[in-house]
């Protein structure tokens, strides 16, 4: 608004200056004309006086002659006298002054000439505009006409007929020199030239200003546009969402291209770019006049839909994307999108919260199978919000604690190491277990904070004792989280003893987004000396293919297999196979969920050395084996 005000001020200023200059220019032009008229009027007065003088003189000199032309033609002395009289009028401003008459053939012939070398009497003179001369000759009053400046150097010609009995018998012709016109112009011209000069400079400044303004708007447009997709970018989003934005009239939708990384990996980044461009074109076609779409992240887009449009347009959007096909190198690529929508912007205080809420809905869309639209539900929100807050306040108020469950080396019946298990005490003093809060806070900063807290609590528990080893649990996805990896690196650098004391058990919740980076991070920590275990082996994604990708130091067989060993021989055989495989690759095998003596005996009989379970030790805050 302030900038616009400046532009308007600039434009108004320039227009005012131009108007002022034009006004002055027109005024001076008028003045010039007035001056010309005054000068001509003065000159004409002189001519008329001369005309009268000649008339009077002729009356006196030729009173005996009936025909004045004859009087002059027959008396060379009188002709000479007339020449002299006419010569008196010639000066810098009047080039020629002569008397002509019309003969019987309607040709103009000289009677007298004021020039230094006068034309011959009776000699014909061709006129530049005979019709005008004829009209002037037959009128009773003088006529002022423009002359041909380019050829004869004349400006104006005054034709003044001599009339007797309403009949012209000769005409005084007076040619004004162009120098008179130039003289008038030279008086006014410098001022007009200065005005034109100022006008020129002003126009140049104006044009430069306009050019710079256009350049500014182009640069501004570029800074607000994503170069690849041509959509608005985050800079423009920041501009749009100022305090005046009518949030109550809009819904926010966050759109994410499903498995976009796979498209990039499989077909290359160029094809990935084509997908982004294509989908952006679909977005551009579909949004209404007052809707907005922004490229919010790599493959993430943010929409601000007008309330009455959102549902219809999103359905249309899903349909178009589902039916859209990209043909590349004889291959057909189809893709889908997941959409999270927040329809209650007015309930969020800040834009960040509005987006976060839509992000939660998007997260739910992805978790529930992708390729769908999920509207954020207030009910879920309330529940999640309270859980978020519960965990956050537990961290802030130090109500996070760990219980430790021993892993037993059955060959010596001693503790091999302890597994740290996170717990939260709610405000009523009730202990909350990870299954009640971990899923909700996953992919949030609270999760990262909680992980760091567990590391801190465990370190403080075991570091000073310096006798027991312990393990902490991380999700495989956590290795894609630089904050967590850096924190682990930081603590082992600070407490080198941890390299021997601490190990990490990897829980594979989901398939990781960036497996290459994940493998690299696991290896990095192993290179630092940390031991890494694969937890819950045999369930979910934790299987042999995972072992192929990583070099785990331990594998912990999942409880779902162990619990069957007393009734299902296949489970026993499976454990034996895993043991054989692990021994061949120097991997230590731990069996969890050892809940009874029978399970313990079976596992012991097939050579399992390390076991964990309620039969051997329950989780406890103390480092004592509780049976």
């Amino acid at each position: 608004m302030v900038k616009n005000f400046h532009y308007w001020l600039y434009v108004t200023g320039i227009i005012s200056i131009v108007s002022m200059i034009l006004y002055l220019y027109v005024s001076f032009s008028k003045k010039e004309n007035e001056m010309k008229e005054n000068i001509i009027f003065n000159k004409l007065e002189t001519i008329l006086i001369q005309h009268e003088k000649i008339e009077n003189w002729l009356e006196e000199e030729c009173q005996e002659n009936q025909n004045i032309q004859e009087c002059i033609l027959l008396n060379p002395e009188k002709s000479k006298m007339l020449n002299t009289m006419l010569h008196m009028t010639i000066n810098q401003d009047i080039s020629y002054s002569f008397l002509v008459f019309k003969d019987e053939n309607n040709r103009y012939r000289f009677l007298a000439d004021g020039a230094s070398e006068p034309a011959r009497v009776m000699q014909k003179i061709d006129t530049d505009n005979k019709k005008v001369w004829d009209e002037a000759y037959s009128s009773v009053e003088g006529t002022l006409i423009s002359s041909n400046k380019q050829t004869d150097g004349l400006w104006l010609t005054y034709l003044s007929p001599f009339v007797e009995n309403n009949q012209s018998y000769m005409m005084l012709v007076t040619d004004f020199s162009i120098s008179l016109d130039n003289k008038i112009k030279n008086t006014i011209s410098p001022i007009k030239e200065i005005l034109l000069y100022i006008l020129g400079i002003t126009i140049v400044i104006f044009v430069i200003g306009i050019f710079q303004t256009i350049m500014y708007f182009i640069a501004r447009k570029e800074s607000f546009t994503d170069q690849l997709t041509g959509l608005n970018n985050r800079n423009y989003l920041r501009k749009v969402i100022d305090s005046r934005f009518p949030y109550d009239k809009y819904d926010i939708a966050i759109v994410d291209i499903d498995f976009f990384k796979k498209i990039n990996d499989q077909y290359g980044h160029d094809i990935g770019d084509i997908v982004l461009k294509d989908i952006s074109n679909i977005f551009k076609k579909i949004i209404g006049k007052d809707d907005f779409v922004f490229r919010y992240g790599g493959e993430e887009f943010l929409f601000l839909f007008q309330k009455n449009n959102a549902e219809k347009l999103l359905k249309e959007l899903m349909h178009r994307v589902r039916t859209h096909v990209i043909n590349v190198n004889n291959q057909t690529i189809k893709f889908t999108i997941s959409v999270g929508v927040n329809k209650n912007l007015h309930r969020c205080k800040h834009f960040t919260n509005m987006v976060k809420t839509a992000d939660v809905a998007l997260y739910n869309a992805k978790r529930s199978g992708r390729n769908k639209i999920v509207y954020y539900s207030e009910e879920i929100n309330d529940k999640n919000q309270s859980n978020f807050q519960a965990v956050q306040s537990a961290i802030d108020e130090n109500r996070v604690f760990c219980e430790y469950q021993a892993i037993i080396d059955t060959s010596s019946n001693s503790v091999f190491k302890y597994e740290a298990l996170v717990r939260i005490k709610d405000t009523n003093g009730t202990t909350l277990y990870p299954n009640s809060f971990l899923e909700i806070i996953k992919d949030t900063n609270i999760y990262t904070d909680l992980t760091k807290k567990v590391i801190d609590i465990s370190i403080s528990k075991f570091l000073d004792l310096d006798v027991h080893r312990f393990s902490i649990n991380l999700g495989l996805q956590d290795f894609n989280n630089p904050e967590i990896v850096n924190y682990v690196l930081k603590v082992i650098e600070k407490y080198p003893k941890l390299i021997d004391l601490m190990s990490i058990e990897v829980l594979e919740y989901d398939k990781v987004d960036d497996e290459i980076s994940c493998i690299a991070m696991v290896k990095l920590l192993q290179d630092k000396g940390l031991k890494i275990a694969l937890d819950d082996f045999g369930s979910g994604y934790a299987n042999f293919s995972t072992i192929l990708s990583y070099n785990f130091d331990f594998i912990k067989i999942d409880g779902s297999i162990i619990r069957k060993v007393i009734e299902d021989d296949k489970a026993v055989k499976m454990v034996q196979s895993i043991l054989a495989f692990a021994q061949a690759h120097n991997i230590i095998v731990i069996c969890e969920f050892v809940y009874s003596q029978e399970v313990y005996e079976v596992l012991k009989s097939i050579g399992v050395e390390y076991m964990q379970g309620f039969y051997l030790s329950k989780p406890s805050q103390d480092l004592e084996r509780k049976l």
Binding site: Y96, R107, V121, K124, D126, Q150, T151, D152, V173
Partner: protein, 140 residues
């Protein structure tokens, strides 16, 4: 100052080229009137005319002996031109050249044409009727 000098130079060029154009046009129409539009060999002692007249319509020759028509200015009296028709570039020359048939000259800043009736008749020259208004009985 420099600007003014340049302006003066160019405007004088403009004026000069305009008068030359008119002059060329009028003299060509006079030649056409005399030659009845056939290709004519012309002798002139005016350097300016040689430059401004369109060479594709007339043939310039070096002296009057091979010319159909002479166009003469005052520079000197051309004695070899006694046997051909002459157009003078000054009114006074009409008297000096008895075989001159007409004249083109500037009078009071205005272009003027004169053909002398008796001389046209003597030389059996019939000019285009559009020039009738310029035919004079006498030389004044």
């Amino acid at each position: 100052m420099k600007y003014l000098v340049l302006l003066f130079f160019f405007s004088s060029l403009l004026v000069s080229s305009e008068t030359d154009k008119i002059e060329s046009k009028i003299i060509m129409s006079m030649i056409d009137a005399v030659s009845n539009h056939r290709v004519f060999s012309v002798y002139t002692n005016s350097q300016k005319l040689k430059e401004i007249l369109p060479a594709q319509k007339i043939v310039f020759v070096d002296d009057c002996s091979g010319a159909d028509l002479a166009i003469l200015e005052k520079s000197k009296i051309e004695k070899n031109c006694a046997n051909i028709s002459i157009i003078t570039l000054e009114y006074d020359l009409l008297k000096k050249y008895p075989n001159s048939i007409g004249s083109f000259f500037w009078q009071k800043g205005r272009p003027n044409i004169v053909f002398i009736k008796s001389r046209l008749k003597n030389q059996n020259i019939v000019i285009d009727s559009t020039f009738d208004e310029f035919i004079e009985e006498n030389i004044w």
